[in-house]
C-alpha cells in the first residue's frame, strides 16, 4: 500500500467519518420523526390510516406556521416601549424664572435712534387715516417733514390700495402708481378683500433686480403699521452694539421693586441679566449661573418667588408694543427662554399667582423613537449657549439658512460665527430676502423641520395662573407709599398701573416622572419564543438544532452519498466493463465505512451501552410499553428503536 493510502486508512479507522445512519432520505425522515422531541412529527409516523396521517401532517404544519407567525410578531414588536409614571415627593429644584418688561427699551432713551422713524410713522398715520397724534409723548416735528428726506419710506414704501386693483397710493409722493410683482397677504385679507377698499401694505423689492417685488398687504392698518415699524426698528437696532442696548434697556433696579423667595428677602443679586433682542433686558431668577440652584422644600405661595415689578408705562414705545405688562417664562436652568414664543403675560395692577406642577419626561431614543439625547447627532449647529431643544434647532437652522442666502443674520436670533446682523446699509436686500426665506421656512421648504428632532428628555412646569386685584382698595394707599419709598421716589407716588405683583410657587412638591421603558428585553423575547415553541410543538433550541442537523446536514450527506455511490457504481461498471474484474475488496470496505447500515452497529441503546446481557426471562410485572402496532411493522428500523419496542422481541 502506498503511504498516503495508509494514512487515510488510519485516519478512517481512528476517526471514523460516518454519515447518518439512515440509508435513504425517507428513512432518515422516519427516524427523525420517531426520535425527535417535538410532538407533531411522531404522530404523523405512528398514525394509522391515511386520513389521520393527513390530519396530523396538517396540524403539524399549521403549528409550525403558527410558531413562525408568532415569533415574527414578537420580533417585530421587540422595539416597543411601555410608559411608567412615578411620583416622588421631595425637595424640588426651583426653576429659573425669566422676567421681561414687554417694552424692550426705555422710549425716552431711544429717542436719538428712533425719532426719525417715529416722525415718519406719524406722518403715515396722518396721510392714511387723516389724524395727527396731538398729545404725543414724542416731540412733534411735523415741520421737519418736508426737509428731511424720508428715507424709511423710500426703502420700503407704505402703500394704500384704493381697491384691489393694482394701483396704490404711495405714502411718500402721494401719487398713484401701478404695482407689479407678486402680492403676499400677511393677514387673511383675501376673505374680506372684496368689501374693504382701504387695504394697506408695503412693498419689498429685490435691490439688485428692482422689477422683482413682493407686496405685503394687511387687512388692518394696525398690523401693517406695526410690521412696517418693526422692520425699520430691527434695522436700527441691528446697528447698535450690545453694550449700548443693555444700557438703553431697563436695569434690575428699574424692573424689580421687591423680591421674596422661600420666606426670605432677595434682591437683584439673585437675578441674572439676559439680553433678549426683542424684549431688551430680561432678568432670570435662579439662573444657576453662580453654580447654586435654589430649591424649595415647602410648597405653597408663601415659599415661592414673590416679586413686585415696576412697569414704567409712560416710557413705552407707542408703535412697537401695544400692550402693557411683563412677560415671564418658567424654564430649566440650562434651557433657553423663548420669551417671545411661550412667555406668559402679567397684568399690571394685579397680583398674578402662578402655581407650578413639575413633570419630567423621558423618551427612549433610537431605535424606539426618533428623538435626540443631546442634539449632537443633529447636523445643525446650536447657536444658543444652552442645551438642545427643538425650538433652538429650528431657530438655528433658519439663521443658518439666512446667513447662507442673505449674507447676514436675522436680528432676533443669535449670531453664527463670522456673521453679522442685517442692516439696511450693508445689506440693502435683506428684508426681501428675509421675507422670502421666512415664507419658505413656514412652508417647510427649508428642510429645518425634517432635520430637527425633538429632545428625548424634557422638564415641564405646568402653570396654573390666576389673578387677583392688587393692591386692594384699602391697602392701596400705604402700599404705594411704601413701595415708592422702596423705589426711592419720595415725592411722586407710584401709580398702581405701573406695578405688577407676581407669585411663582410650587403647588405641591410632587415630581411626576414619566419615562418610557423598553417592554422587551432579550431575556423576555427568548422566554416568549420558548413559550410559543413549547405551546405549539413542545420544541426547544435542541429541536431546532435537531432540525438543522437532520434536514440540512444529514439530508445533504445522504444525497451526497447517493450521488457518490451512483458515481462510484457507474465508474466501477465502466471499469468492469473495461477490465471485467469482479468488484474489489476496497469497495466493500468503503461501503462499510460510509454506510453504517452495512456495519453492524446499532445505535447505542441503553442495554448495548451498558453491555448488559439481556434478561433470560422477563416474567416480572412491568408496565407494558405502548403497543403501537405500526411500530412492529417497521422492519427496517426496529433495531434502532429499542426503547419503543418490547425488549422481549430480541
Amino acid at each position: 500500500m502506498a503511504p498516503g493510502k495508509k494514512i487515510t486508512a488510519r485516519i478512517k479507522r481512528t476517526l471514523p467519518v460516518r454519515g447518518p445512519q439512515a440509508p435513504t432520505l425517507s428513512e432518515l425522515m422516519r427516524w427523525y420523526c420517531l426520535n425527535t422531541n417535538t410532538h407533531g412529527c411522531r404522530r404523523i409516523v405512528v398514525s394509522r390510516g391515511r386520513l389521520r396521517r393527513f390530519i396530523w401532517i396538517l396540524l403539524t404544519l399549521s403549528a409550525v406556521g403558527l410558531i413562525l407567525w408568532q415569533c415574527a410578531e414578537l420580533l417585530l414588536n421587540y422595539y416597543s416601549a411601555s410608559v411608567s409614571v412615578t411620583v416622588q415627593f421631595q425637595k424640588l429644584p426651583f426653576p429659573a424664572v425669566t422676567i421681561c418688561n414687554i417694552n424692550p427699551y426705555k422710549y425716552s432713551s431711544m429717542k436719538d435712534y428712533l425719532s426719525e422713524l417715529d416722525k415718519e410713522t406719524k406722518k403715515a398715520l396722518e396721510t392714511f387715516y387723516g389724524f395727527s397724534e396731538g398729545k404725543s409723548k414724542v416731540r412733534r416735528s411735523a415741520g421737519d417733514w418736508n426737509e428731511t428726506e424720508s428715507h424709511f419710506s423710500r426703502q420700503i414704501p407704505l402703500l394704500k390700495f384704493e381697491d384691489f386693483s393694482k394701483t396704490a397710493t404711495d405714502l411718500r409722493s402721494g401719487r398713484k402708481r401701478k404695482i407689479e410683482g407678486s402680492v403676499f397677504h400677511k393677514d387673511s385679507s383675501i376673505v374680506n378683500s372684496g368689501d374693504s377698499n382701504d387695504i394697506i401694505g408695503f412693498q419689498l423689492c429685490d435691490a439688485n433686480n428692482s422689477s422683482e417685488c413682493a407686496l405685503y398687504t394687511f387687512s388692518s392698518g394696525v398690523n401693517a403699521i406695526q410690521e412696517w415699524y418693526k422692520l425699520h426698528y430691527m434695522n436700527i437696532m441691528a446697528q447698535i452694539p450690545l453694550e449700548t442696548k443693555e444700557e438703553l434697556s431697563y436695569s434690575a433696579d428699574d424692573l424689580l421693586l421687591t423680591c421674596f423667595f422661600d420666606g426670605l428677602s432677595c434682591d437683584k443679586r439673585h437675578f441674572t441679566r439676559f439680553h433678549h433682542p426683542l424684549h431688551g433686558n430680561c432678568y432670570t431668577f435662579n439662573s444657576g449661573e453662580n453654580g447654586t440652584i435654589l430649591s424649595t422644600s415647602t410648597g405653597g405661595s408663601e415659599y415661592g418667588l414673590q416679586v413686585v415689578l415696576y412697569i414704567d408705562e409712560a416710557d413705552y414705545n407707542p408703535f412697537l408694543v401695544t400692550s402693557t405688562g411683563a412677560k415671564i417664562i418658567v424654564h430649566d436652568q440650562d434651557e433657553y427662554p423663548f420669551i417671545e414664543d411661550i412667555g406668559t403675560e402679567i397684568e399690571t395692577a394685579a397680583a398674578t399667582s402662578i402655581g407650578m406642577h413639575f413633570t419630567r419626561s423621558r423618551k427612549l431614543s433610537k431605535p424606539y423613537s426618533d428623538c435626540t439625547e443631546t442634539g449632537a447627532d443633529i447636523p445643525v449647529e446650536n447657536l444658543y449657549n444652552k442645551s438642545y431643544s427643538l425650538q433652538i434647532c429650528l431657530h438655528s437652522c433658519f439663521q443658518k439658512a439666512m446667513v447662507e442666502s442673505c449674507g447676514c443674520a436675522q436680528y432676533t436670533q443669535p449670531l453664527p460665527a463670522g456673521a453679522e446682523y442685517c442692516n439696511y446699509k450693508k445689506n440693502p436686500n435683506w428684508m426681501y430676502c428675509y421675507y422670502r426665506l421666512h415664507e419658505k421656512f413656514v412652508k417647510e421648504q427649508l428642510g429645518c423641520q425634517q432635520i430637527c428632532k425633538d429632545a428625548c428628555s424634557f422638564k415641564e412646569w405646568a402653570l396654573t395662573t390666576s389673578i387677583a386685584q392688587w393692591p386692594s382698595v384699602v391697602s392701596e394707599d400705604w402700599m404705594l407709599r411704601v413701595l415708592s419709598w422702596d423705589k426711592g421716589q419720595k415725592i411722586n407716588k407710584l401709580n398702581k398701573t405701573d406695578l405688577a405683583n407676581l407669585m411663582v410657587f410650587y403647588k405641591d412638591l410632587n415630581e411626576r416622572f414619566i419615562s418610557e421603558n423598553p417592554t422587551n428585553t432579550l431575556v423576555i423575547l427568548l422566554s416568549n419564543f420558548g413559550g410559543q415553541l413549547g405551546l405549539w410543538m413542545s420544541c426547544s433550541v435542541v429541536c431546532v438544532i435537531e432540525i438543522v442537523e437532520v434536514f440540512f446536514i444529514d439530508s445533504l450527506s445522504i444525497v451526497m452519498r447517493r450521488q457518490w455511490q451512483k458515481a462510484k457504481k457507474w465508474w466501477n461498471d465502466r471499469k468492469r466493463e473495461g477490465s471485467g474484474k469482479p468488484p474489489q475488496v476496497g469497495d466493500v470496505e468503503r461501503q462499510g465505512h460510509d454506510n453504517p447500515v452495512c456495519i453492524d452497529e446499532d445505535l447505542p441503546t441503553f442495554n448495548t451501552a451498558l453491555r448488559l446481557p439481556l434478561p433470560q426471562e422477563s416474567h416480572l410485572p412491568r408496565t407494558p410499553p405502548p403497543n403501537y402496532s405500526t411500530l412492529r411493522l417497521e422492519t427496517a428500523f426496529t433495531e434502532q428503536l429499542p426503547d419503543t419496542l418490547e425488549a422481549g422481541q430480541h
Binding site: 453662580n290 393692591p471 419709598w485 405683583n501 433550541v541 435542541v542
Partner: protein
Amino acid sequence: MNVKKYFVRALHRLQKGPGYTYKELLVWYCDNTNTHGPKRIIKEGPKKKVIWFFLTLLFASLVFWQWGILINTYLSYNVTSSLSIGFKTMKFPAVTVCNANPFKYSEVKHLLKELDKLIEAALERILQPTHGDTITPLLLNGSDNASEGLDLALWNQIPLVLIDEHDKDNPVIVEIFETNRTAPGNGTSPGNGTALENGISPGNVTAPGNGTAAGNETAPGNGTTAAPPAPSNTTSEEKKYKLAVKLCSHQGSNNCTYRNFTSAAQAVTEWYILQSTSILSKVPLQERIRMGYQAEDMILACLYGAEPCNYKNFTQIYHPDHGNCYIFNWGMDKEALNSSNPGAEFGLKLILDISQQDYIPYLSSAAGARLMLHQQKSFPFLKDQGIYAMAGTETSIGVLVDELERMGYPYSDCTMNGSDVPVKNLYSEYNTSYSIQACLRSCFQNHMAEICGCGHYMFPLPEGVTYCNNDDNPGWAYCYSSLRSSIRQRQICIDSCKETCNDTQYKMTISMADWPSEASEDWIFHILSYERDMSTNVTLDRNGIIKLNIYFQEYNYRTISESAATTIVWLLSSLGGQFGFWMGGSVLCLIEFGEIIIDSLWITVINIIGWCKGLKQKRAQARYPDAPPTVSELVEAHTNLGFQHEEAGAVPSHGTARGEALPPEPGTPPPNYDSLRVRPLDALGPDSDAETE
C-alpha cells in the same frame, strides 16, 4: 400491625437503596428525561455525544443565567401605567371659596386698633420726606405728641428697625420709636436668618459687634432730631435704609436676630402678620368665626346645574389663613353630587361678594376670592393649591380630573390612608382624609409645640398645647422664625411624610371676562343688593362682586393607573418559556432531576455505610490472618450492601424475600430497570460491575 409492617418494609427499601449505580442512574435519566438535551447525549455517536454534552451544559447554564435575570426583574417590582381619558359621570369636586381677607375689618378693628396706629406712626417716620437723599427716621420719646397713645409695649415685643447701610461694612441699626430704654437691645446676634440658602443674600445684617454704637447714636436723650448718620455720598443708587424685624428669644434678651427685608412693603406685611397672629390667637374660635365673613353675606347666588342652591348648601369651616371658608359638595354629611354633563350649563355657578372696603389694610394686599377644588372629605390647603378670582370679573374654570392610582408597597413608597406615617395627623380633627400637605403641616406644628412650647396659629393644635401669643410666649416669633427657616426641620418632615397612593388633581383651565358688563351693572347690583340686604340702595360694587363658573370639560378625567409589570404569572411563564426554549423542559423535568439527585444521594449514603462496614470487616479480618477476600467478593460487598444489611437483619435470602415481598406490595411497582431484574447474584455481580466501571 399493618402500619408496622409498612414501616418495616419502607425501612428495608431504604436500606436496599435504589438498586443501581451512579452510571446506570445517569444513563437511565438521560434516556428517560423529558428535557431535550440529555437524550441526545446517549443516543448519538461518540463525537456527537461530546458535542451534545457540551451543548446541553451550555443550554443548562443559559437557562439558569436567564432565570437569574428574570427573578431579578421580578423582584424589582416594576409597574406599567395605563392611561385612560374620556368623559364619565363623576363626583363633582368639592369647591372651597374663601375671602382673601380673613376678617371683616369693622369687626376686628377693636383688636387691631393699637397695631394699626403703631404701623401708621412707624410708616410716617419712615416715609417722611427728608432733605437730600438721606432720610433719618426720627425718633422720639414718649413725650412727643405724635406718639401719644401708642402702645409701645406691643411694639417692643416685635419691633421693626431700620438698618442704615451707608457704611457697608458697619451697618447701623436705627430704632424707629425711641423707648425709655436707652440702649435698645444691644443686639449682637449672629442673626442671619435672613440669608438665603446659597449665602449670596444681601447684607446679612448682623448687628455690629459693638451694638452699643447704634444705641448711642440713636439715643441722644431728649433729642427730637437725632443726628443724621454720616452724610453719605448721595449719588449712589444703593438704597440706604432697609427695614428689618427684630426678633428676640425673649424680651430684653441679647439673643436677637434681625430679619431684614429688601422691601419695606414686605417687612411691614410680615411684621403685621406676626403681631396680628399673636393678638388673634387669644381670641376664642367662636368669636373668630363671628368676625369673619358670613355665608349669607358672601354667597349671593348659587346654581348647580339647573338646580338652585344657596349658602345653606355650603359647609362652613374655619380656615386660619382665610377666616370663614365655605365648601360646596364636601360630602361630609351628604352624598357627593355627581355631574354627568360637560359644559358650563351643568356646572356650579356662584356669585360672591368679597366687600373689599372691609379688608384689613395691612394684612392682605391682594383682593379677591380664594377658591380651590379638591376631593371630597379632604382639607383645602388654599395657600398651596388655591387660586384667586378677581373682583369685578367672571371667572370660568373648566375642570379635568387628573387621577393617579398607584400600587402601594412594594411597588412604590406611598401610603393608602396615612396610618403608617409616623406623624400625628392634626387635621383629623376636621374629619378629613390624609394628605401630604396635612402631614407636613402637622409635622411642623408638632415640632413647633416641642421646641417653642406653643402652637402656631395657622395650624391645628396638638393636644394640650395652646396657640402662641406675645404675652405667654414672648420669644415665639423668634422661635418660629428660626424653625421656619431651618432646612433640617423641613427635611425631617419631608422624609417622614409620604404621599398618598391615589393622587387626584384638578387641572383647571381658567378664563376671565369683565362682569357685570357696564350695561347690566345697574340692575344686577340692584337685585343682588335687594336680595341680600333688603335695601333698595346698591350696597355692592365692582370691587366686591365675583362670578364663578366651575364645570367639567368635555374630557373630564385622565386616569393613570399602575399595574404590576411583573406578576407571579408573568414570572412563571417567563421561566417556563426560557426553560422550554433552551431545553424543552418543564417543572416535571425539574422534579425528575430532583428525583435523580435524591437517588444518587441515597446511593452515596449506602455506599458510605458500606465502605465503613467494609473497613470494619477488614480490620476484623486483619486480626485473623485468613486469605484475603477475592475481588469479586469485595465488589459484591460494595455493590450489594443493601442486601448484606438485610442479611444482617436476619432476613431470608433476598431472592426469595424479594419474590415474596413483591406481589402484595401496594402502590407503584419499583422502576423496572434491567439492572434491577432479579437474577442470580453471581451472574450479575463482578462481571457487570467491572464493565460499567
